[in-house]
């Protein structure tokens, strides 16, 4: 399926999705509530079958949080950058996708650790890289640690 | 130069000169002390030489030089290591059972000392010559495992405990194969006395005289004895990539050195038993009927023959260690119980049959 097809596929299910044709991937932004049904559909539907989540990351924008899923289909060889906009920047929450793509389990823990995004229904959401008693989420733009960080 | 060929002259003269000056009780005690001293020196020398040999052999297999800096060709390297080990701090875990923790290395050492006492180094050079020599050796060598079990349990470390359990299962299993493969030759010799076994090979070593069953027994003995000394590829008890160092993880300094020494001493002991039973011990290489050839061979002193054969077997064991990957614990036990032991039992029956029919040389 080409980018147009994927765009149509997503718009059929999530009408409010914003699609941008990037240089490599089709970039689709959807509200965070829609991720779980859409992700399940993207993987299980034969025409899309995005079975390979090769990158999951979060971005801290000034007014919102964003979780970016880079998806690929090993059968059709098409790719997609799916972005979820989480309205609350202070207390972001989103449904986990780790039951759809197992690799998300560790990636989501990392995002939780560094950005403080709560992945609901995640089986084991704990700090991954930092110590358990670490305060704050270091990858956020407003994170300030006068001891360990070098100011530029 | 007679004493080089028959140590009875030497021991008798020492005994007589002692008996002239002391009363009999003192003589016995002095002789016991002398024998103990000799074994202690032998033990220390073995440690020095074998550690150096292992390093050089491993270096040879790995296309490198090995120790080269301390002394000519690195010969003093082991000595330097001894000094290092002596200066190390002896550490003991807080929760460790201190008494057993300290005792364990000594049990292993004592077991190897006891086994070494009955080895026939040369004609007349044997501290204990029982008529149950082989049985005695397998009896005392089975004591060493207690030291390993104690070491693993008392150091209060899970890795050590796993190592000890593995080692216990391994040594107890492989003792069977060692014993049975030796028994295969005992069927031929009709005696358990080590000196008799050596004497019986005057016209050819058992490995040549005993046909194929003897060769099979020898191969089984090599495998099983390597396993019983906890050396690679059967070094599961210490498996550094799995259990860090297994049962001696928590040991340091001198006590670690004891384990280390005992490992090499045990290697020497099993090699010596193998050499004695299969390769004729100190008996020179003889071919029945070739008088001239046999006479030439007789010029080489028995001690040389003994240590030559032992070195060969030790080299074989080092060869195994530096080429093979380690087995897994279930594979190890499968190898023993499903392959070595049945083959061994069949072999012993076959050997008994050969012996009965008189088909051996």
């Amino acid at each position: 399926m080409d980018n147009e097809g994927i765009k149509k596929f997503i718009l059929d299910r999530v009408p409010e999705a914003e699609c941008v044709e990037g240089s490599q991937f089709l970039q689709v932004t959807i509200p965070s509530e829609k991720i779980f049904p859409l992700a399940g559909e993207l993987k299980s539907n034969e025409s899309t079958s995005f079975d390979f989540l090769f990158c999951l990351t979060a971005v801290d924008w000034p007014d919102h949080m964003q979780v970016v899923y880079h998806l690929k289909s090993t059968a059709h060889n098409h790719q997609l950058a799916l972005k979820c906009k989480i309205a609350s920047r202070e207390n972001p929450e989103i449904e986990t996708v780790c039951h759809i793509w197992r690799t998300a389990e560790l990636h989501e823990r990392e995002a939780y650790d560094l950005f403080g995004i709560k992945f609901l229904n995640h089986p084991d959401l704990r700090r991954l890289l930092l110590t358990d008693d670490w305060e704050g989420y270091p990858m956020r733009k407003d994170y300030d640690d006068p001891i360990n960080m070098i100011e530029y | 130069m007679n004493w080089l060929y028959d140590f009875n002259y030497l021991t008798r003269s020492i005994h007589e000169s002692l008996a002239e000056t002391f009363e009999p009780a003192t003589v016995t005690i002095v002789e016991m002390a002398l024998a103990g001293l000799c074994f202690m020196i032998l033990f220390a020398l073995l440690g020095l030489v074998l550690v150096y040999a292992e390093r050089k052999v491993s270096a040879f297999f790995q296309q490198r030089l090995g120790p080269m800096r301390v002394g000519k060709w690195g010969t003093a390297q082991t000595l330097a290591d001894v000094i290092k080990l002596l200066m190390k701090e002896p550490l003991i875990n807080k929760n460790a059972d201190r008494f057993l923790f300290n005792l364990a290395p000594y049990i292993i050492m004592i077991a190897s000392f006891m086994a070494m006492a009955s080895l026939p180094f040369a004609k007349g050079l044997q501290a204990l010559d029982f008529d149950i020599g082989l049985l005695y050796i397998s009896a005392v060598s089975s004591l060493g495992v207690i030291g390993i079990l104690l070491a693993g349990w008392s150091s209060d470390n899970k890795y050590s405990l796993i190592g000890a359990m593995r080692s216990g299962a391994q040594i107890i299993s492989y003792e069977l194969s060692v014993g049975l493969s030796l028994l295969t030759i005992v069927v031929l010799t009709g005696s358990l006395q080590l000196s008799t076994i050596v004497e019986s090979q005057a016209n050819g070593w058992w490995i040549f005289k005993g046909h194929i069953p003897a060769v099979v027994a020898f191969i089984i003995f090599l495998i099983a004895s390597t396993a019983e000394t906890n050396r690679g590829p059967f070094d599961l008890a210490e498996a550094e990539s799995e259990l860090t160092a297994g049962f001696h993880t928590e040991y340091s300094g001198l006590k670690f050195a004891f384990f280390f020494l005992a490992e090499f001493a045990n290697m020497f002991i099993v090699a010596a038993i193998g050499a004695t039973v299969f390769l004729g011990g100190w008996m020179p290489f003889h071919i029945g009927g070739w008088e001239g050839f046999n006479n030439i061979m007789d010029y080489v002193p028995p001690l040389f023959w003994f240590f030559g054969k032992v070195s060969f077997l030790i080299f074989m064991m080092m060869w195994f260690r530096w080429t093979f990957p380690r087995l897994r614990i279930d594979q190890l036990l499968t190898l023993e119980w499903k392959y070595l032991l049945p083959v061994n039992l069949m072999n012993i029956v076959l050997m008994a049959f050969l012996s009965l029919m008189g088909w051996h040389f």
Binding site: G22, R102, T103, L129, M139 | I162, G232, A239, F324, P325
Partner: protein, 373 residues
């Protein structure tokens, strides 16, 4: 009799053991908490972050030329390929046209890196399984590649050669000759690897059927690289999304269907042959030209986002740059192969023994800084 059998005291209980952070076979400071039943593994739980340096955060303050130098601290065995990924991503954003000479040299350097990484992996794998000799063999041959790199870029471990827009320097005059010498040497030595380990009975027993990973699981866990290809997951970035000079050379993507430790082992050995063939195709055909396209001293990327994936020795390495038009990226994410590969460890190791876990870990070929970043 029934009472004895059902006695609760006889039930074996699970206990925990800490494998790492200091353990010979975790290859770095990785801590695995194992739930054991006897020697059988019930669960493996990785605890990461012992060498987490927050490189992604550091990148948000660095200019792109500096970022390149951080990437080789991550997967230090695939340093050139990591550097290349960042360079390619920046070049893609700037839409720079890269001359063929640079592409070819990058490909050769990348394949040499892969070879040296696989050699080290092979040596360490043998050592994990108890055959210490293989370690020395691996390092003996790796030494020649390290020498080539030292001559090329001056370092032996944390090497930097790629820059956005090309290479730091032109290749050393000896480069082609030494590389050809190495290939000739290694073609003779690689069969030795098979003699020492691959054909060894104990080795096969230790690896065959151990740590099975199905194709579906490999995809779902995001496992890439030789680890995934041994399960039949065709994921070679060099084939699917060719970069640098990989569209110009002939090579096979090594695929296997067994999915066990032995298949992963065979895949890496076969990849070494392929890497050598790639180098052989290119080494005599390096085109003439400049070694660098002029760029500004401080590169500013336009507003936008780019993702570049490359195939490192361990799998798919991705660089995801979001730029707001500044000299530093707004967000930079490194998708490291080891991180995803590690996530499948628990799945593969359940029901195995401790010794099998060691074998599985070594066939995953983990580099801890690559996981912790």
């Amino acid at each position: 009799m029934e009472e004895v059998i059902q006695d609760k005291d006889l039930e074996s209980k699970e206990y925990f053991i800490n494998m790492g952070p200091q353990h010979p076979s975790t290859h770095g400071v990785l801590r695995l908490v194992l739930s054991l039943d006897g020697e059988i593994i019930r669960k493996v739980e990785p605890h990461l972050g012992f060498i987490h340096r927050s490189i992604e955060k550091m990148c948000e303050h660095d200019v792109y030329n500096q970022i390149v130098h951080l990437t080789d601290r991550m997967d230090y065995l695939s340093c050139h390929i990591n550097n290349e990924a960042v360079c390619l991503c920046v070049e893609q954003a700037l839409q720079l046209e890269i001359p063929d000479r640079i592409k070819v040299i990058r490909t050769i350097i990348g394949e040499l890196t892969r070879l040296s990484s696989h050699q080290l992996w092979w040596g360490v794998m043998g050592m994990d399984l108890g055959a210490i000799t293989s370690f020395l063999y691996g390092f003996r041959d790796r030494e020649m590649i390290t020498d080539i790199f030292e001559e090329t870029c001056g370092a032996r471990l944390t090497m930097n050669y790629n820059l956005p827009g090309g290479l730091m320097f032109d290749i050393h005059p000896n480069f082609q000759k030494r590389t050809k010498d190495f290939i000739a040497h290694f073609k003779k030595k690689l069969p030795e690897y098979d003699t020492l380990l691959s054909n060894n009975v104990i080795f096969r027993q230790r690896t065959k059927g151990i740590g099975y990973l199905s194709k579906e699981d490999a995809i779902s866990y995001g496992v890439t690289g030789p680890t995934a290809r041994a399960s039949g997951f065709s994921c070679d970035v060099r084939k699917h999304h060719p970069y640098s000079g990989y569209d110009k050379v002939q090579f096979k993507e090594i695929l296997d269907t067994e999915g066990d430790c032995y298949a992963r082992y065979k895949c890496r050995i076969a990849e070494m042959w392929e890497s050598m063939s790639i180098i052989e195709q290119l080494i005599d055909n390096i085109p003439e030209g400049p070694h660098k396209v002029p760029t500004k001293a401080v590169i500013k990327l336009p507003k936008g986002e780019w993702y570049q994936k490359v195939e490192t020795a361990r799998g798919e390495f991705g660089v995801y740059i979001i730029s707001e038009g500044q000299k530093s990226p707004y967000r930079l994410k490194f998708r490291s192969p080891g991180f995803s590969n590690l996530s499948a460890l628990d799945h593969m190791a359940r029901g195995c023994k401790i010794a099998d876990l060691v074998a599985i870990m070594s066939t995953l070929d983990l580099v801890i800084p690559d996981i912790d970043r």
